[in-house]
Structure formats: C-alpha cells, structure tokens
C-alpha cells in the first residue's frame, strides 16, 4: 500500500503543480466551459487511440489539441464560441466517444476509470510523463505569462500594443489540452476541470497579485491531493472524487472565513 500511495501522491502533486497556475488563467479568462469541452472530447481520444493502435495518452492529447485548435479558430474567425457552440461540441464529443468505444469489438474498457479517474492504477513509469507534462506546462506558461496576462486584461488593447494574439492563444489552449490528457487518469474526464477551477478559486482569497494566486492555487491543489488521497485510503473511497471533494471543502472553508472576516 505504501508504494501505491506514494506513486498516487506523486502523480497527484505533479498534476496539481500544473493546474494551479494554468487554472488561474482559466478562471480569469472565464474559460471553464472551454476546458469542459476539451475534457469531454478526451474520450474520443481513447477510442481513436485504440483504433490506431497508438498510446492512449497520445490519442487523448492529439484529440484534445485538435479540438483546442478548432475552438481557437472558431473564436477567432466566427465569434461563435458561445455557450451554445461549446455545449454542442462538449456533449457531442463525449457521446461520440462513448459510441465509438461501444462499436469496437473485443474491447474491454474501464469506462468508470476514464470518467472518474483511476489514480491507484498509475504506475511509477507514468510519473515521468506526468512530471514532463507539468514541466512543459509551467515552463511554457512562464514564457507566455506577460502577453497572456495582457490579453486577459484587454485583448484589443494587447493587440494594439503589438501582442500577437493567435500564437499566445494557441499555446495556452495547447497547455490546457496537455493538462487534460495528464489529468484524465488521475481525476477522470468529468472531474478534470475541477482541478483547474477550484484551487484557483480558493487561492483568490489569499492573493494580491496574479503570481501569488498562481502559486497559492498550486499549493491548494497539492493540499487537496494529500487530503483526498489520505481519505481515499482511510475509507476506501475513489481517489479522484475524494481529491475534488477535499478541494471543494478547502474552497468553502476559505470563502466562508473570508466572508466572516468581512473582506470583499
């Protein structure tokens, strides 16, 4: 149990380190539904991965990247990425994934594992991928931090000031796609976005600068992983949902404490 626990812990912390800063931008840019749409398309990636006989994580990553590019372009040229379009894409991608998997004969898929994560099935060898992914996300985010923050504040002002919007957008969406591919095994398709949103929302109460919020969000995420995993081992709970519930508890405690202190 010790090795399982430590592997799961290392995987969860690797994920939380990436989702805190990235999730802060998802919150600031009000892109929760955007992330949800990418996450829902991940199951289609599983189906395509099986179909092409490639690594499933790679399949997920490719499909998420394709959907991310599609969404950025839709937004760029059509000004269409409304709730409705995202809703159509999100749910049709999920349904299509389920149908595609059902069509594949002789394929036994642990659907629950994909939908809600299976952290205890993470192998020590998976950790390389998770930490490589986290390093990629944090490194790229640091590199595009200033232009991305300027775009977040006012996109047209950033454009007039000479920021090239499209490459920064594409890079950001690609990072979300990478994170979702990473997170799928840990918390599952349906709970991925919670790891982006909830730690960031909880961190808001402590932060006076964007950077503080990003760092605190990563710490809150790590705390949720530790607490959630401990609870999962103690009471034999599903690990992904236990982590998300812990994150939500932290968020609720922080928010009500802030309310009680009479802050904004």
């Amino acid at each position: 149990m010790d090795e399982f626990f430590l592997t799961a812990l290392a995987a969860g912390i690797g994920l939380a380190l990436a989702t805190g800063p990235l999730g802060s931008f998802v919150v600031w840019r009000r892109m929760a539904y955007f992330g949800e749409t990418l996450a829902h398309s991940a199951l289609l990636g599983v189906a395509i991965g099986f179909l092409l006989g490639i690594n499933l994580n790679l399949g997920i990553l490719l499909v998420c990247l394709a959907v991310a590019v599609l969404l950025v372009l839709l937004r760029q040229y059509q000004r269409l990425a409304s709730d409705t379009v995202l809703g159509i894409l999100a749910h049709s991608a999920l349904a299509l994934g389920l149908v595609a998997i059902a069509f594949m004969e002789g394929l036994r898929v642990d659907l629950m594992g994909y939908l809600f994560g299976d952290l205890l099935a993470v192998m020590p060898s998976d950790l390389y991928w998770i930490y490589a992914g986290a390093a990629l996300v944090l490194g790229t985010l640091a590199a595009i931090w200033r232009p991305l923050l300027n775009i977040t504040l006012h996109e047209e002002m950033a454009r007039v000031e000479g920021v090239r919007i499209l490459p920064v957008h594409l890079a950001f969406m690609a990072l979300v796609a990478v994170t979702i591919a990473m997170a799928m095994q840990i918390v599952g398709i349906l709970l991925v976005v919670s790891m982006l949103i909830i730690p960031a929302a909880a961190a808001r109460a402590f932060a006076r600068t964007p950077e503080q919020m990003a760092v605190v969000a990563a710490l809150v995420g790590c705390l949720a992983v530790v607490g959630g995993l401990a609870a999962a081992f103690r009471w034999d709970l599903p690990a992904g949902p236990a982590i998300v519930v812990t994150a939500t508890a932290i968020f609720a405690a922080v928010t009500s404490a802030r309310g009680a202190l009479g802050q904004r």
């Binding site: 600031w28 002002m157 454009r159 007039v160 000031e161 006076r208 600068t209």
Partner: protein, 263 residues
C-alpha cells in the same frame, strides 16, 4: 519656414487612411473615409451614435479590416490605446501599479513623470476592479503614456464623466500632447464639448465625413450646424488645453454661451 510643424510634416503621416469602407453584414458603417494622422496633432472625431466614430478608430488601430480602401501605418508605430470598455474579472488580483508595469519596463523617472501627469498616484495600490469610471480612464491613460506612444488613441474618454471632469480630462489630454509630443485621436461623444486644442475636428454622419476643420471654423460649417445645431445649448464650450487657464476657460464658456444664444 521652421519650427516643429514643418518638421512634423516632413516626417509624413503616422497613419494614412484612403477611401476606406467598412460593412457589417448589409450595413455600411464607413464609406469613402480618408484621413491622415500627423505626428503631434490632435484629431477629434465627433458624430451621433452609430455615425461610425468607433469603427473609424478601430480601422486606424488595425482592429477592424476595411472592406475597401487602403490603410497604411508607419512601420514600428507605437500606439497607446485607451478603450472605452474595460472590465477585469473580479477573480484577477491586480493593482493599478502592476497593471501599469505590464506595459513594459520603463525608467523610474518616466514612471514618476507619468504618475504626476495623470494623477494616478493615490490609485497605485488599489485593485483595478474598485476604480470608478474616471479613475479607470486615468489608469489606462497612464499605462498608455508609459509606452511613450507616437499616437494616443482615446475612445470616448469623457463618457460617463460629469461636465467638470470632462473639462479637466480634455485639458489634461491637450497638455499631454505638448509634453509627450504624441499625436492624439480622440472620440468625443458629447457634441457640445470639443477640445479647443484639436487641430482638426472630423464630423461623421452615417459613415461619411460630413465636414472637417479647425474647432473654431467647423462649428460654423453648414453641415455641422445641420447635424448638431439643435443640440447646441447654452453650455456649449470649447475647452482650452492650458491647465492653468481654468479662469479664462470659464470666461470662454460664458462668452460662447452668450454667442450661442445670440446665434
């Protein structure tokens, strides 16, 4: 012939717009508009709602692509843009100081100069989200100035401000041109308040430039009178840009008012 005016003209325009048309669906919002933005000159765009002022500004800034005509921008042109709408998500913790710093690295002396000129000093440690409309406009202006723009583009900077603040803002803008040597393109939504410091006033009507000229002469233009005449009340004012001329500004307001009643 010498002096700054000649030099600036020799340098050529910062932006040249020729015969530009913009259409949204079936609607033609700009038609056959030509305009040169010259270094160090203030151009004011006036017009009723839907006349095409904002669209013209967006064409100048490269935010809207025209359906016809040509837009030329000087290579490497640095623009400071103060948009009309500016709302930051409540979850983004950011102070005015940080917001300004995001414009890029600048020396301490320039930082202090901009703070003194725009009066944002007391706001520096406030979160962006708690500022009033006028304070937000000042913070945006301060950030734009930090970049040492060759052109300052202001989309209805006076919107939502009371008369007194509008006058103060216009005087500030007029003064900034003197101190920073930048060209200014400003949209004025209030037809009764047009800066005296403007070198050129362009009146837009249904996507076309109906008349243009210096502030003093353009108000006498028949097209201007036809368009805006009925709106001209006794408060009609052309604000001077000298910040020390408060008193004479009041006098000018009064004498204009008298003139307005006479005519």
């Amino acid at each position: 012939m010498s002096g700054p005016g000649t030099e600036q003209r020799a340098a050529g325009p910062l932006i040249r717009v020729q015969g530009v048309a913009v259409t949204f669906g079936d609607r033609r919002v700009l038609d056959a508009v030509s305009l040169d933005v010259h270094p160090g000159r203030i151009a004011t765009l006036v017009g009723n709602n839907g006349a095409g002022k904002s669209t013209l500004l967006r064409v100048l800034l490269g935010l809207t692509q025209p359906a016809a005509g040509a837009v030329w921008r000087a290579p490497g042109l640095r623009i400071g843009y103060v948009p009309q709408q500016f709302a930051v998500d409540a979850n983004l913790p950011i102070t005015v100081r940080r917001f300004m710093a995001l414009a890029g690295r600048v020396g301490a002396w320039r930082w202090q100069e901009v703070i003194d000129d725009t009066g944002v000093g007391p706001l520096l440690d406030q979160p962006l989200q708690v500022l009033s409309g006028g304070e937000t406009r000042r913070a945006l202006l301060a950030r734009a100035l930090l970049r040492r723009p060759a052109l300052l583009a202001l989309d209805e900077p006076a919107a939502g401000l009371d008369r007194h603040s509008q006058g103060a803002l216009y005087r500030l803008i007029g003064g900034l041109r003197e101190r920073y040597g930048c060209a200014v393109v400003v949209i004025s939504h209030d037809l009764n308040l047009v800066m005296a410091a403007s070198d050129e006033v362009l009146c837009l009507d249904q996507g076309r430039i109906a008349c243009r000229g210096a502030p003093a002469s353009v108000v006498e233009h028949p097209e201007y009178r036809k368009l805006f005449g009925p709106h001209l009340g006794p408060e009609t004012a052309v604000f001077p840009h000298d910040p020390h001329a408060e008193a004479s500004s009041e006098a000018a307001t009064r004498s204009r008012a008298a003139g307005g009643e006479r005519g």
